[in-house]
Symmetry: C2
Subunit: 662 residues, 2 copies
C-alpha cells in the first residue's frame, strides 16, 4: 500500500475517536483566509445597510431599484467595490480582494450584489480588460466611484450561449471616422441587460465588426445610451418587466438604430481600426482573438460562483440553527419532543450539503487565488490562463447548482416558516435561481470544461482551437482533436493515479484521503477515455460529428462534473493537510470525509459498473456517511457559525430563537 | 420464464420499431379520462379569467388578494368548486369530479387554486366530514356558493406535523353550555392559516378538548373570527406578511382570548359533549378517534398531489415547445443552428420528467378514483380506507417533489428567458414551493407510508394503532408492531414477486414490464424486510426506540419511496395494458418504459448492491434510456399538447413561437 499514513485521519477511527471542540473564531479565521479584513469590511457594510432586506418587500419596484442603486454607490465609498482596479483610478489593485469582497456581499440582498457585479465586474471589467489607456483615463475613476453607471450589452434575444453568432453590427464609416452600431432585427436586440432599463448611461456593446465590407467578428464598443436620465437618440430601451427574483436590478432590452460612436469607442486592447479603415490585431486567428477577449472576462464567472456558495451558507446557517431549537414529536422520551437535528434523516438532508459547501468554499479560494495570480501577472503563461478558465467554469457550475439545491433543501427543512419572506429563503431562492444561467449556462460551461480535458488528452493538439468552446459544442473541434489521439494513453494515465497495488480500492480505509482521491481520479480518467473513444469511433465511422456529440452529451457532462469534483476534493484535502492540529482540524476532516464519501455514494452505481466498488464496500460507505453525520451533529452550530454570516443577514427572528414562548 | 409475452412491447424493439403517429385529441381524451367534461369546464373558466396571471404582477398585494377572492367566488357560480358536496346543498355529489376540477385549476394562477382549496376543500371539507346535519344545514349551501368564507385553523407556530400536540384549548363550561376557545401561549397561536388575514368569517379551529377537568384530545370547532369585515372580540389576527409565493392568499395568525362558542359549535360527527357535560364518542380509543377524524380530510392531500402534477405539466409544455423552436450552435451543419431538443442532453433533462409526469398523472387518477369510492360508500371497509390514506400520502409526496424538480429543470432549460415573470416559471416555481410542506410535510408523509407497510408486514397487529403515524415517528409503535413479527416472511414474499426462474433478472428483456415490475417489487420487499430487521434488532438490544428509528430513518424513507414508485409503475402498466392499439398506445408505452428504467437507473447502486443488476445490464439500461429519449423526440410536442394546458395559461409569447423575427 502506497498510502501515506500521515494523511489518514486516524483520530477519526471509532476506536480512538474523541469528539472535537471547535472554536468558532479560529475556524472562521481559517475559512476567511488571506482576505479576512476585506470580508469583515463588507460584513460591516452589510449590517449598516441591513434595512435593504426589508425594503425589498416594502418598496415599489422603481423605489427598490433606486434604493439598490443608491446602496451600490454608497458602499463604493468604503472602497469595497473597486478593489480590483488599479490604484491610480481609485482602486486597490488587488483582484483577490475584489473577489473576497464580492462573495461576501452575497450574504445580503442579492439585487445589490448583482447590480454591483454589473457595474464594477461586467461594465468596469470590460473597460479595464478590453479597453486601453484612453478608455481607462476617461472612465475608470468615475465608474469606480459610481459617478458613471454602465451596463454590459452582450446577450441578445436570439443568442445567449452562442456569443459568436450575435446579430448586432458595428460598421466603420471611414469618411466620418465613426462606427455605426445597429440592431438588424428583433432577435438581435440586446436582452436581459442588467442596469439598462433605468440607470445605465453607458453600455459596452458587443457587435459584429465590419470594416470596408469585411467582417472581423465580435468586438466591444462603448456606447452612450442615456444622458441626463434621457435615452439617447437612436437608442430604444424596454424594461424586461418583473422577474422571478432580483427585482432590484433593472434588466432591459436595447435596440440601436444606426447609432454613431467615434472610432475611439472601440475597446482596442486586442484589435483596432485605423482612421483610414485598416483592421489590426496582434492575434491573427479570429477565433482565438474572440476567445482571448472573452477570457479576460473570467472574473465575472469566478464572482458568480463565489456568490452562489456564499448564498448557500446563509441558507445552511438558518436551517441548522432552526433545527437546533425546533422540536417536533416525542421520539426518544415521553415528555419532551426531540430537536429536529437529532433525527438521522434531518442530518442526512443537511450535513452532506454543509460538507459540500465547505468543499466549494475552499475550491473557490483556490480559483480566486489563481485569478489573482494570472491577472496580476504572477502567472502569465497560456497554460495557467487556460487552467483558470476551466476551473472558473467548473466551480461556477457546481457552486451555483449547490446554491439552488441547498437553498431548496434548507427551505423545506424549515417547513412552512421557511416560506415566509421574513425568513430569508424566499429571496435567497428567487434571487439565486438565475445564477445557474447567467455568466454562462452551467451545462455549456461543463462542456467547456470537457472540451479542455479532451484537448489536453490529445496533447499534441494543445494549441489548436484551444478556447473553441463554442465549436466544441458543435462537435467540429472534436474530430480535429481526436483524429490523432492515441487511446492507449488512457491505461497509462489510469495506472498513475492509483495509490498502488492491485487491490488498492478494496484494502484502503474509507477515510484514507488517498483512497478517496484515487477513486475520484479513476472515475475522471475512465470517463474521459470513454468519451474520447465514443467520439472518435463515431467520427471514424463517418457519422455527423454533431450527432455523435449529441449522443454522448450526457457522458461528456458527467466527465466534466467528475473532473471538477476531483479538483474540489484535491483542494479540500490540500487545505486540510495544511491546518494546524486541533479540534478545528478534526472538524474539517469530518467534513472532508463526508464530502469525499458523498461523491462516491452519489456515483456508486458507476463505481460498481466499473469494478471499483464492491457491494459490501458500497454499503459500508453509506454506513460511514451516517456515522460522520452523527459526529458532525454536536458541532453543527459551530460549523455554520464559522461562515460568519452576520445575524442581521439571517433575519428569521422566530426561526432562530426569539421564538414566541421559547 | 413466466413472462407474459402479450405485455412486452414487441413493436418497440429496434428491429420492428415503427415511429408512432400520435393524435393529440385521442391521447388527451385518454389522459382526461372519466371527467373530461369537468376538466374542460375548468379549462374554459381558466381562459375566461386568464387576466389574473398578469394581475398578479400588476396589482398591490391587497388588490391581488381581493381579486383572487372574487375569482374564487365567481368561478364557484359555474359549479366547478362544489362538485364534491351533496346535491341538496348545491353540490354535484361527485367527489371524483371535484378532484378533477381542482387539479385542472392548477394550470392557472395558483393563489386562486389554494384559496379555492382552503374554502371548499379544507374549510368546506371539515364542515362536511367532521360536522353533522345541523352544521350542514346551517353552512354548506352558503359556503359552496362562496357567500360565507372560512379558514382551517389547525397548524400552530409550535406544531405543524405533530398535530396531536396542539396547544389551543376548548374547555366546556357546563353552566353556560359553551366552549371556551383559548390560546395559552404564543407557540399555540394558529399560524400560516390561509384566508385568515383578510377574508374568512369563520374558522374551523382544532383544539384540545377539556370537559369536566378531563382531556379528550384534539377536536374541531366552528368559531366566528370576523363579522361584517371586523375581527370579532377576543380574536386577534395578524398577517403572515409577504411569502415566497401564493401572495394572493391571505395567510394569517390567530390568537383566541377566552372566546366563547355554543356547545353546537363542536363538529360532532365522531364525538360530542352533552349539555350536561358528558363526553361521548362511538370510537373508544382516543388515538384511533383522532386519526379517524384526520383521515376524513384526506381529500386535501389528494388535491395537492394532483395540483403539483398539473403544475409540472405547464412547465413541461413550455420547456418542450421552447426547445422545439429555439436554436443555438451549429452542431450538425455549418449554416444552421440546431434545435435545443435535438441535443441528447436536453432530451435527457426533459423526457424522464415527462415520463414521470405521465406516470404520476395516471397514479393520481387511481388515487382519486379510490377516494371517490371510499367517500361515496362504494368501498367502505377499513382496509380500503387505510390503503387510500397511504396512497394519497405517497402520491402527494412524489407528485409535489416532481413539481419542484420539474419546474426547476424546465426553468433552467429555458435559460434567462425562463427567469422573466411573463414566461410563467417565476409564479410556478414560487407558488408550488410550499406544496412539499403543506397538507403534510413530504418526509412525514413517507414515514406514514412506511408505518403502514411495517404494520401490514406484521399483519397480526394490523388493527393496533393503525393510524398512529405520529407515534410511529417516535418509534413507539414500532416495537409493538415488530416484537412478534416473523422475519422469515420476507423470503416468502420476495419469492412471490419474481416472474419465475433463478435468472429472471438477467434473462428478461429490459422493456418487459414484468421485469420492470419485478425489479421494483423486489426492491420494496427487500428494503422493507431490512428496515424491519434493523428496527427489531435495535429494540431487542434494549436501545431507545426513538434512537433506533432515527438511525435508520433514511432507510425508512427510501422504503416508502420504493413502495410508492412500485405502485406508480403498476398503475402505469395497468393503464397501458387497457389502451386500444394505435400510435398513442405505442407512445404511452415508450413513456412507461422510460419511467420504469429511470427508476431502476436512479437506484442502480442499490440493485447492484443487492445482486439484482449486473454491471453490464446496468450500462444497457442507461443506453436504453438514451434510445427511448431519441424515440420520444419526434412526438414530444404531441405528448405535452395532450396535457391540454390552454395556451392562455402558458403566456410566454416570445418563448413559444411568436418570437421576434421568427
Amino acid at each position: 500500500m502506497a498510502t501515506d499514513t500521515t494523511d489518514t485521519r486516524d483520530d477519526s477511527r471509532p476506536d480512538g475517536y474523541v469528539q472535537p471542540q471547535v472554536d468558532v473564531p479560529i475556524l472562521r479565521t481559517m475559512l476567511d483566509g488571506k482576505y479576512a479584513e476585506v470580508r469583515d469590511l463588507v460584513r460591516r457594510n452589510l449590517v449598516e445597510y441591513a434595512a435593504i432586506l426589508e425594503d425589498q418587500e416594502r418598496l415599489s419596484t422603481d423605489e427598490y431599484r433606486d434604493r439598490v442603486r443608491d446602496l451600490v454607490v454608497e458602499m463604493a465609498e468604503s472602497g469595497q467595490s473597486g478593489m480590483g482596479f488599479p490604484e491610480e483610478y481609485g482602486g486597490a489593485g488587488d483582484i483577490g480582494a475584489s473577489i473576497a469582497a464580492f462573495e461576501t456581499l452575497a450574504f445580503g440582498d442579492l439585487s445589490v450584489l448583482v447590480k454591483a457585479g454589473v457595474q464594477f465586474g461586467l461594465f468596469g471589467g470590460a473597460i479595464l480588460q478590453l479597453g486601453t489607456k484612453r478608455h481607462h483615463d476617461e472612465l475608470l475613476e468615475d465608474l469606480v466611484r459610481g459617478r458613471v453607471l454602465g451596463c454590459f450589452a452582450m446577450t441578445e434575444t436570439g443568442h445567449g450561449s452562442n456569443v459568436q453568432a450575435l446579430g448586432t453590427t458595428a460598421t466603420y464609416d471611414v469618411e466620418a471616422q465613426e462606427f455605426v452600431i445597429h440592431t438588424p432585427d428583433d432577435l438581435s436586440r440586446k436582452d436581459y441587460i442588467g442596469n439598462a432599463a433605468r440607470h445605465a448611461e453607458l453600455a459596452v456593446v458587443f457587435a459584429q465588426l465590419h470594416v470596408a465590407g469585411e467582417s472581423h467578428g465580435v468586438h466591444a464598443f462603448v456606447v452612450p445610451i442615456r444622458e441626463g436620465g434621457k435615452v439617447c437618440e437612436g437608442v430604444r430601451i424596454e424594461d424586461c418587466g418583473p422577474k422571478l427574483g432580483l427585482n432590484g436590478v433593472d434588466n432591459g432590452r436595447i435596440w440601436f438604430d444606426q447609432v454613431r460612436v467615434p472610432r475611439t469607442a472601440l475597446l482596442n486592447e486586442f484589435a483596432d481600426v485605423t482612421p483610414a479603415g485598416v483592421y489590426e490585431s496582434p492575434i491573427d486567428n479570429p477565433n482565438r482573438r474572440f476567445f482571448t477577449m472573452l477570457g479576460t472576462l473570467v472574473q465575472g464567472r469566478v464572482s458568480v460562483g463565489g456568490a452562489g456558495i456564499n448564498a448557500a451558507k446563509v441558507a445552511l446557517t438558518i436551517a441548522v440553527r432552526y433545527a437546533l431549537q425546533r422540536r417536533q414529536f416525542e421520539a426518544t422520551s415521553d415528555d419532551r419532543e426531540d430537536l429536529l437535528l437529532d433525527y438521522g434523516l434531518h442530518q442526512r438532508r443537511l450535513f452532506p450539503l454543509l460538507a459540500r459547501t465547505y468543499a466549494l468554499h475552499l475550491m473557490q479560494q483556490q480559483v480566486a487565488a489563481s485569478l489573482h495570480d494570472v491577472f496580476s501577472g504572477t502567472l502569465s503563461d497560456e497554460h495557467s490562463r487556460r487552467e483558470l478558465e476551466a476551473r472558473a467554469a467548473g466551480t461556477k457550475a457546481l457552486g451555483t447548482w449547490l446554491a439552488t439545491r441547498t437553498i431548496q433543501e434548507c427551505r423545506e427543512a424549515c417547513g412552512g416558516a421557511g416560506y415566509l419572506s421574513e425568513n430569508r429563503f424566499a429571496a435567497l431562492k428567487a434571487d439565486t435561481d438565475v445564477f445557474t444561467t447567467f455568466e454562462g449556462d452551467n451545462h455549456v460551461l461543463l462542456q467547456l470544461v470537457a472540451k479542455g480535458l479532451l484537448t489536453d488528452y490529445a496533447s499534441e493538439f494543445e494549441d489548436i482551437d484551444q478556447l473553441g468552446m463554442v465549436r466544441f459544442v458543435a462537435g467540429m473541434a472534436v474530430d480535429t482533436v481526436l483524429e490523432k489521439t492515441s487511446v492507449h494513453k488512457l491505461l497509462e494515465r489510469i495506472k498513475d493515479v492509483l495509490p498502488g497495488g492491485d487491490q488498492w480500492d478494496q484494502e484502503a480505509g474509507l477515510l484514507d484521503p488517498n483512497y478517496q482521491l484515487a477513486m475520484l481520479r479513476f472515475r475522471e480518467e475512465h470517463m474521459l477515455g470513454g468519451v474520447a473513444r465514443r467520439l472518435k469511433r463515431g467520427i471514424d465511422a463517418g457519422h455527423n460529428p454533431g450527432e455523435v456529440f449529441s449522443r454522448c452529451q450526457d457522458h461528456v457532462i458527467r466527465t466534466a462534473h467528475a473532473h471538477v469534483e476531483r479538483l474540489i476534493l484535491e483542494a479540500f484535502v490540500d487545505r486540510f493537510r495544511e491546518l494546524p492540529a486541533g479540534g478545528e482540524r478534526v472538524a474539517v476532516g469530518l467534513l472532508c470525509d463526508l464530502f469525499a464519501l458523498g461523491c462516491i455514494e452519489d456515483d456508486a452505481a458507476w463505481f460498481m459498473e466499473h469494478g471499483r466498488l464492491t457491494t459490501t464496500r458500497s454499503k459500508a460507505i453509506s454506513a460511514e456517511i451516517n456515522e460522520l453525520c452523527r459526529r458532525i451533529r454536536p458541532i453543527a452550530r459551530e460549523l455554520v457559525d464559522a461562515f460568519g454570516v452576520p445575524d442581521e443577514m439571517l433575519r428569521s427572528p422566530e426561526l432562530l430563537g426569539e421564538y414566541p414562548g421559547a
